[in-house]
């Protein structure tokens, strides 16, 4: 499996950049599309023996123990879905052929980085793949070299560099303490009550670095600028999956499989999660830029994942993993819709828009599905994951945090209703009378993502049993 997700994409990027670039430029889109489709199939049908038998030529190449468990598969699936969506959005929003070709190359590199993060079992290799993802993300944000995008990319580089310093220092300390960098070696020394001061200090440093990467409050300064100034296809990728994998998935993996839970880690996670939920929701209420509002909404939703994880209970962790997947899907849908609106109207300012549902009915309708799911309205996918998190908080006697989580859902509904009213409902705004629905490809993507949101919600018992419940195996305490 490692060959399909790391080696083949890597050789693919190299071949795409060999001579005959005009031919390669035409092939690049289809090559990337097949890669991401295969990734989705591998993640869903991971039990199949086909992967083991068909890749015998390549698989012995890596002399590394990859960590592929049920948490990895659900995130690999989300990476495949969001990367494919971003690729399709780029086809309609990046006009220049060279720009599109560079985008596809970097998208494949970013997906290798993310798949690597999900599959490694060594903290230094984790850092290497985090850097691959981050470097690709910086360049993708600055792809069109516009002033604001360069500023957004610079803020991301700057804060990401601070996160890198923290994580590298932590890894150095852990290496000194444990003599190794594998998850197992570190777990044996730093988890449990007998951990030394330097062990705890290293854990704290690493967690702070991950909070920056995940855009958790108060380390979120870079996120609204990076999300809102990047090209639409890049915003889809950043908001949909890059920050989820580099910050939030890594946080889950490191806490569950390496550092372990103790009272302090639980309190820090729940406090940071609750602050992110409220700060993100309140900031989203005051925005008039469509993408910036979605960026603050992401901060708020990431807060739910961190809050669920912080409970340290089985239900809370399963809810956090499920919300991570759901958020990847519905936030990607919302960013695709914002890309469609920006493409057709030329603006993201919600005060200049209005009545677009009459002109863009599919975009308007799928946007309603996405925001209802984000707000936790039944029977959509977001309802179930939020319910699991809130029940986990209540059952672990964290009543105040449970009340905050419920109240913030009302705030989420408020800012999304405000967005829907300003952009899609009411009279068609002046100058937008001749607007048409987005191109077929973008409409298709919106419908597919909305169908996933509805489908996962309606078939929750099946999805839960097949993909979420098996994550229980990871939780050994």
């Amino acid at each position: 499996m490692s060959s399909i997700l790391i080696l083949i994409p890597l050789f693919g990027v190299m071949i795409l950049n060999l001579p005959f670039r005009s031919v390669m430029k035409r092939l690049a889109f289809w090559f990337a599309a097949v890669l991401f489709l295969v990734q989705m199939i591998v993640a869903v049908f991971h039990h199949s023996t086909i992967w083991g038998s068909s890749m015998t030529i390549f698989d012995p190449f890596f002399k590394v123990d990859f960590l592929t468990d049920n948490l990895s598969f659900i995130v690999l699936l989300a990476i495949g879905v969001v990367s494919l969506t971003s690729l399709i959005v780029a086809r309609y929003t990046l006009k220049d052929e060279n720009e599109r070709f560079n985008f596809i190359n970097l998208l494949i590199i970013a997906s290798i980085g993310m798949s690597g993060i999900v599959m490694v079992s060594d903290i230094f290799s984790l850092y290497v793949f985090l850097e691959i993802t981050a470097v690709s993300a910086f360049i993708l944000i600055a792809l069109q070299k516009e002033r604001q995008a360069l500023e957004g990319a610079f803020k991301y580089i700057f804060l990401s560099a601070i996160a890198t310093i923290m994580m590298l220092s932590s890894i150095a300390l852990l290496l000194l303490l444990t003599g190794g960098t594998s998850f197992a070696a570190i777990k044996a020394v730093v988890s449990g009550p007998g951990a030394s001061f330097f062990g705890k200090f290293a854990v704290g440093l690493f967690l702070c670095g991950l909070f920056i990467k995940g855009g958790v409050v108060p380390f979120h300064g870079w996120l609204p600028d990076a999300y809102s100034t990047a090209p639409s296809a890049v915003s889809v990728l950043l908001a949909g999956i890059i920050t989820k994998v580099s910050g939030i998935y890594t946080l889950m993996r490191i806490v569950i499989s390496v550092f372990g839970f103790d009272v302090h880690i639980s309190h820090i996670l729940m406090f940071a999660g609750a602050v992110s939920i409220v700060t993100g929701a309140l900031a989203a209420l005051g925005q008039s830029d469509f993408k910036r509002m979605l960026a603050y909404s992401s901060i708020s939703q990431v807060g739910y994942i961190v809050l669920g994880l912080g409970t340290g209970t089985m239900l809370g962790i399963l809810g956090a993993a499920f919300h991570l997947f759901n958020h990847a899907i519905f936030k990607t849908l919302l960013f695709v819709n914002s890309a469609s609106v920006e493409r057709e109207t030329g603006t993201r300012n919600m005060d200049s828009l209005g009545g677009l549902s009459a002109k863009m009915p599919v975009t308007g309708a799928t946007s309603v599905i996405a925001f209802l799911s984000t707000s936790g309205i039944p029977p959509l996918a977001g309802f179930w994951s939020k319910l699991m998190i809130i029940v986990a908080l209540w059952m672990s006697s964290n009543y105040a945090y449970a009340v905050i989580a419920v109240a913030a859902s009302a705030l989420t509904l408020a800012y999304f209703l405000s967005m829907q009213r300003r952009v899609f409902f009411g009279k068609v705004a002046e100058g937008l009378e001749n607007i048409k629905e987005a191109p077929g490809g973008l409409v298709f993507v919106s419908i597919a993502l909305a169908a996933i949101t509805i489908g996962v919600g309606l078939a929750f018992p099946v999805f839960y049993t097949q993909l979420i419940e098996p994550i229980k195996e990871l939780i050994t305490w």
């Binding site: 890596f62 002399k63 060279n98 560079n102 360049i139 003599g179």
Partner: protein
């Protein structure tokens, strides 16, 4: 005062110079010297493999890449350079303070010195094993990062030149 302490002080001063240097090229040279001094420290601390990598990659390759990238940028005028320099001093005045305070903290704290002693270093015969077996995935990771770096130069510099 041992040789290592003197080298450590030189390395720290050079690192500071790298941050506050007026021109990017001088900062690059500062970084190369910092890296070269670190190489000597690594040899002294019985880590010849790490030292060779530091010398070839950090002192050599990275300096060449930085110098090439700087050659693609538009140089600042003398007036602009002085302005940037003043701003840098204003922005980073706290760096030497942090450095001195950290040194004082380390000197008077009860951190066991054994914690910072270099552990077993890889011998020459272990190099192939370390690179190809133990850290193979990181080696691939580095190749991918270099690929991403090449794209960044193409995207951010080459096309700007064309325009």
């Amino acid at each position: 005062m041992t040789l290592n302490t003197i080298l450590l002080i030189i390395m720290t001063l050079m690192a500071l110079y790298t941050v506050v240097a007026r021109s990017l090229l001088k900062a690059t040279i500062g970084l190369a010297v910092t890296s070269a001094v670190m190489t000597i420290l690594m040899f002294n601390l019985d880590s010849p493999l790490a030292a060779v990598f530091e010398l070839s990659v950090c002192t050599g390759l990275i300096t060449v890449v930085f110098a090439s990238a700087i050659a693609l940028t538009k140089p600042l005028t003398h007036k602009e350079t002085i302005e940037v320099s003043k701003n840098k001093f204003r922005r980073y005045w706290y760096l030497p303070v942090i450095m001195v305070l950290s040194g004082v903290f380390m000197a008077f704290s009860n951190i066991p010195s054994s914690l910072f002693q270099p552990q077993a270093a890889a011998g020459a015969e272990d190099v192939r094993h370390v690179l190809w077996n133990a850290r193979q995935l990181d080696l691939f990771g580095q190749i991918i990062i270099m690929l991403a770096g090449a794209f960044s130069i193409v995207i951010l510099f080459k096309e700007v030149r064309k325009k």
